[in-house]
Symmetry: C2
Subunit: 153 residues, 2 copies
DNA sequence: CTTGGAATGTCAACAAGGCTGACGTATTCT
DNA sequence: AGAATACGTCAGCCTTGTTGACATTCCAAG
């Protein structure tokens, strides 16, 4: 079962580069996750984010409050359902997201390049099979890309 | 860059089952990591564990102290270098390790089975390429299996 | 129109598990 | 003899998770 250790070590590599950038801004991984999914799903609501991230609203709120205060995220009251808050990245937020995504993609791209396209296909197949079924729903839903990424493949 | 989200969601699935077992014993992921690597490398020293896990000795010590007090891990003063402590699992520790490993392997095995052997090869190839180079050294060193696993593939 | 429930925010308290810094004690190496 | 190594420990701090309680606003159904 080498795969278990591989996951452990690889996940460390996976988070390492963004972690350094986040630390410079006084943020942690929780902020990264929020930024990432708001970027991928602009205008998403708090409760949707809650179910993707799988944390309590109190945890998310602490992170979100910081990001809003710092002008990274904008929270707009919904027009159809006014209870909802729709979250989007500001320009500063997008800039930070791009910086984080670039650092993280760089390593992933390098790994992809060195392993080859067939390995990458297998990699994604195994990861998808490893997800929880409810989370898998979020994953595939995110899949229908709204053209919000920057073509990082 | 769907791989980034796939890693995030898959890692959650990956840790989910052992987390439940750990919670029943009053342990966390940090304890799991210690138990796992002591099992894989019986008689390892504290400083070796430290470099594998990449945490401070204060953090590791807190976890190790609990495991030793609970009779899960044994710490033996070294014979050649008496400054070193060699760590091994007790019977209770081995039992817990087996329980954790079984739960975690079950999900990984299921993912492997559904993705197929070629996908698995690709999966491991990408993960290895994603690791930090120093960590990769630990990974390959662990690879020379001492027959301590239970044939979970 | 009232009422229940959904969506959100917030206060307080707590725990795990990281971190730094500072010391102390064996033990080994030079 | 003195420096360096391996380990343990005390104290304090931070992030990020948790539970519980409570308030507000709004939608929807009866």
């Amino acid at each position: 079962m080498k795969g278990i250790e591989a996951m452990f070590f690889a996940y460390r590599g996976f988070t390492q580069d963004p972690d350094r950038i986040l630390a410079q801004h006084g943020y942690g991984r929780a902020h990264h996750r929020a930024i990432h999914f708001i970027h991928r799903w602009p205008g998403t609501t708090v409760s949707n984010l809650l179910s993707i991230l799988g944390v309590t609203k109190q945890s998310l709120n602490r992170v979100l409050r910081a990001l809003i205060e710092d002008g990274m995220v904008e929270s707009a009251k919904g027009t159809v359902d006014k209870r909802e808050r729709h979250l989007t990245l500001t320009e500063a937020g997008s800039a930070l997201e791009a910086e984080l995504s670039e650092a993280q993609s760089a390593r992933v791209q390098a790994a992809y390049a060195s392993a080859g396209p067939e390995a990458v296909a297998g990699f994604e197949l195994v990861l998808e099979a490893m997800m929880d079924r409810d989370l898998f729903g979020h994953y595939t839903r995110l899949g229908d890309d709204r053209g919000t990424d920057r073509g990082e493949t």
